[in-house]
């Protein structure tokens, strides 16, 4: 039994002369949510498609649950669930028929409770073409998990969904993980990755740019904390003083803004300045760098 559900070593994928993925290495542990992050054209989809067995790697080695995703695709079918980014279903197929249809090909009995759990209980007789985008996403997820797979691969699962539906799907993903399912997640939504993922891999121009937990990734960057402050008399806005270990950013909507590499020292000096000037705090916000900021930093650095 392997410790890794997905193990990628020296994986390269080419399309003609263009190299989509170049000697990629990463592995994903059992029971974790692993996020694959990257700008458009970074090689995420090529990587996922090779892991899903939809395409062959040109060189290197990919193993999924210890098996070859192309050669052993039949064996993996029952152990892996995939939600494609653009998951087409025959428009005339009802939700109930879709669950039955794909379950039979996987060699299992249809699991209608997966759809009920995803809020499709009342839509079982509705044809796929009549479902809303959110419902189609839910159905795609139901189809991916109805056979209780060890590994679920989700490609942009919440793209184009409203906030409420996205939150519900996040809760289901967290529930799956709590049940021991490993989840490989490709997303453009950094907040989603930060919220859900145990570890993330940033891919830029087909190469690994960074890897680690969202917290590790954010702390590896410039790591500067953002401080925004609004005061009663607006003294900071008028005087625009500088404070130690910080860089002043343009003011915005009545807030004076700083980016600090040592927030404790900056805040102490700022509070002392306010006390000396007789001003008072209306609102003070201290924000650590987000994964999105770190992601942009990595992408820009690679691009330059």
């Amino acid at each position: 039994m392997t410790d890794h559900v997905v193990n990628v070593r020296g994986f390269t994928k080419r399309y003609g002369n263009a190299i989509a993925v170049d000697r990629m290495d990463f592995s994903m542990g059992r029971g974790e949510i692993f996020a694959l992050l990257g700008p458009n054209g970074a090689g995420k989809t090529s990587t996922l498609e090779c892991i899903e067995g939809l395409r062959r790697a040109d060189s290197g080695n990919i193993s999924v649950l210890g098996l070859d995703p192309v050669r052993d695709s039949r064996r993996l079918m029952r152990r892996v669930g995939v939600q494609l980014q653009a998951q087409g279903l025959p428009g005339a197929m009802t939700v109930r028929e879709a669950l039955g249809f794909f379950a039979r090909y996987r060699g299992i009995a249809p699991n209608y409770s997966a759809a009920e759990r995803l809020g499709l209980g009342g839509r079982m007789g509705v044809q796929a073409s009549s479902l809303s985008t959110g419902q189609q996403r839910r159905l795609a997820l139901a189809l991916a998990i109805q056979h209780d797979p060890e590994l679920v691969i989700l490609d942009e699962p919440t793209a184009g969904l409203d906030v409420e539906t996205r939150d519900e799907l996040h809760a289901i993903v967290a529930e799956l993980r709590a049940g021991g399912t490993s989840i490989l997640l490709a997303t453009h939504d950094m907040a989603e990755a930060e919220k859900l993922a145990d570890r993330a891999l940033v891919v830029v121009e087909g190469r690994k740019a960074a890897e680690g937990s969202p917290r590790e990734l954010t702390s590896q960057g410039e790591g500067r904390t953002r401080i925004s402050i609004s005061t009663a008399r607006g003294g900071l806005l008028r005087v625009e003083p500088d404070f130690p270990h910080s860089e002043r950013l343009p003011s915005e909507e009545g807030y004076c803004r700083y980016r600090s590499s040592k927030p404790a020292a900056t805040l102490s000096a700022l509070l002392a300045w306010l006390q000396d000037s007789g001003d008072d705090i209306v609102d003070l916000r201290v924000e650590r760098p987000s994964l999105e900021e770190r992601f942009l930093e990595i992408v820009r650095r690679k691009a330059s």
């Binding site: 899903e52 067995g53 939809l54 998951q87 087409g88 025959p90 794909f102």
Partner: protein, 261 residues
């Protein structure tokens, strides 16, 4: 019921739910049959002897050349085939299920055509129903194979109908459906001999060359399905190189060979 049977049953139901399939499988061939039956039997009284096989071939062409390939290409472009693949649906069953489901629709249409022709147009019941069914199955398989092959080699849903028309229109004009192929000039008769329609009309008529035509239809079906399975692509964009796709023309080889017998 096994998995393929469920798939076929779904495709059959989808054929009744989908308006465009309903149009191509039932409405269009039956409307055409009504018009042609009313007009052609007045212009050419001998047409009533050809109307049953001619309209059976016409209906099968509507389904397998105009409806099924477009459906398969649309499914490929919209990611349905990729969904099939990640769920373990084999390529052969992706091709076979709509083919088999359409046989049900075509059998129904042929029964209606035959019944109305005998009752209203005075056509004779085929002398050997068993032989008629055998030729019908071979002709249906030949067109189903060609339809599957057209779907597989077509680069897009816009191109699929154009490619299908390359077989469909000559089949109607030259295949002996509207007029006996013996009246064609030799050059056009040679072109007609490359079409399953001419061989199907030959085989339905019986007599000289019927067995060879039947064999050509069966061989054409086998070659077409074999090529379609080999050239099959799951991807939304058909990435097969054109020289490989042109190998699809080999599906006409059995009909070309039959010309020399």
């Amino acid at each position: 019921m096994n998995t393929l049977a469920h798939h076929v049953l779904y495709e059959f139901k989808a054929g009744l739910r989908d308006k465009s399939q309903l149009l191509m499988n039932y409405l269009f061939p039956l409307l055409f049959f009504t018009l042609v039956g009313a007009i052609m039997t007045r212009l050419d009284p001998s047409f009533k002897d050809r109307v049953i096989p001619a309209m059976a071939i016409f209906s099968v062409m509507c389904s397998y050349l105009l409806s099924m390939p477009a459906g398969l290409v649309t499914a490929r472009e919209s990611g349905v085939l990729r969904s099939y693949r990640i769920s373990g649906v084999p390529s052969w069953s992706t091709l076979a299920a709509p083919v088999v489901a359409s046989i049900g629709h075509m059998a129904l249409v042929t029964l209606i055509v035959a019944g109305v022709s005998v009752a209203a147009l005075g056509s004779a019941v085929p002398a050997s129903v068993a032989l008629f069914v055998l030729v019908w199955l071979a002709m249906t398989a030949a067109y189903a194979g060609l339809g599957a092959l057209i779907a597989v080699v077509s680069p897009s849903s816009r191109a699929v109908n154009l490619i299908a028309q390359v077989v469909y229109i000559p089949s109607i004009m030259l295949g002996g459906l509207m007029m006996p192929s013996g009246v064609l000039p030799p050059a056009l008769e040679a072109v007609a001999s490359l079409l399953p329609a001419k061989h199907a009309m030959n085989a339905f008529a019986g007599g000289e060359g019927a067995a060879i035509s039947l064999a050509a239809l069966v061989a054409g079906a086998i070659v077409s399905f074999a090529l379609a399975s080999w050239l099959f692509e799951w991807d939304g964009t058909n990435s097969r190189a054109w020289p490989l796709r042109l190998l699809a023309l080999l599906a006409l080889a059995p009909y070309a060979v039959a010309m020399f017998f």
